[in-house]
């Protein structure tokens, strides 16, 4: 395969950037749900 380092770097970024955002969003939702449940258990399952 020609230009392999460039291709590997592009695919690594193409997976890492969206995955980073997705994991951060998932953690933020989980944290907010936990806090909400601690404050008002009725709202733990929005």
């Amino acid at each position: 395969m020609t230009h392999l380092p460039f291709i590997v770097a592009a695919y690594a970024l193409g997976l890492a950037i969206p995955a980073g955002y997705a994991i951060a969003a998932w953690q933020r939702v989980a944290g907010a749900r936990r806090k909400l449940a601690a404050i008002d258990p009725r709202m733990s399952r929005p």
């Binding site: 933020r28 939702v29 907010a32 909400l36 929005p46």
Partner: protein, 251 residues
């Protein structure tokens, strides 16, 4: 806009309604994104034939082109939310706009970085001050400016208003990005796919590109929906804590 469509927009301004609807949609967006990205990127990386001129470097297209489309599409979404915020004072539009801009900045950075990785072996340079590249760099700065401006005010409402105005002013950059390769002599190639004409790309290369583009679009949507869900819950938490503090003070 008719009163019925305005009513339906405001129906989704109800945070509880949004949380229920987005909670139902999010798993489908996530699973769809993962499956389509696995197929599109796997196909593009391992099974598409190398280009006669560019060799295997053409495989960078399956990341770069969807990222470029989403950089512009995300900004269009930001502008739509800004109109909804300024005209209808739609509270969810403010939150959605604030959550779109960091994700849009990330995808624009991905577009610029993969473009650089594609440009070095093809053009012999990591960066050139070409009209297409420069206008996409301006888009990146607009996203970063929106992220900073929305968070720069003590009163969040003022931040959302200022961000909405910046986003709408920046819309002028979108046609510049789109038509830069036609208006100026650029090193960047012209579009291979258009809504009106036949694609100038072989179908062997086109299908995985479309699949990875849909996959990245679902991924972008899933991230923005999840972030907006978190923002809605965080606002509810702040409201509850303030109400609790007020009642404690009153007692």
């Amino acid at each position: 806009m008719s009163s019925s469509s305005t009513w339906s927009l405001h129906r989704f301004a109800n945070p509880g309604q949004f949380l229920r609807l987005s909670g139902a949609v999010l798993p489908y967006l996530t699973v769809g994104a993962v499956l389509l990205l696995a197929v599109g990127l796997g196909w593009g990386l391992f099974f598409v034939p190398a280009d006669w001129q560019q060799g295997d470097a053409v495989r960078i297209m399956y990341i770069h082109v969807p990222a470029a489309w989403l950089a512009s599409a995300g900004y269009t979404g930001l502008a739509v939310c800004s109109v909804m915020s300024l005209v209808w004072r739609h509270p969810l539009a403010d939150l959605a706009a604030a959550e779109i801009s960091p994700v849009g900045a990330g995808f624009t950075a991905l577009c610029l970085a993969t473009g650089s990785l594609w440009g070095k072996p093809m053009w012999g340079a990591w960066w050139v001050w070409d009209a297409r590249l420069t206008s996409v760099l301006v888009l990146f700065f607009l996203y970063i400016g929106h992220v900073a401006l929305v968070r720069a005010f003590d009163d969040p409402t003022r931040g959302y208003r200022a961000g909405a105005i910046l986003a709408l002013v920046g819309v002028v950059n979108l046609p510049v990005i789109k038509f830069s390769v036609d208006w100026w002599n650029t090193l960047h190639q012209q579009a291979s796919i258009s809504l009106t004409g036949a694609p100038t790309m072989a179908l062997d290369m086109l299908w995985p590109l479309l699949i990875s583009a849909i996959g990245y679009t679902l991924c972008f949507a899933a991230i923005v929906v999840a972030r907006t869900r978190a923002a809605v819950m965080e606002r509810r938490i702040r409201g509850l804590l303030m109400a609790k503090a007020a009642s404690d003070t009153g007692a």
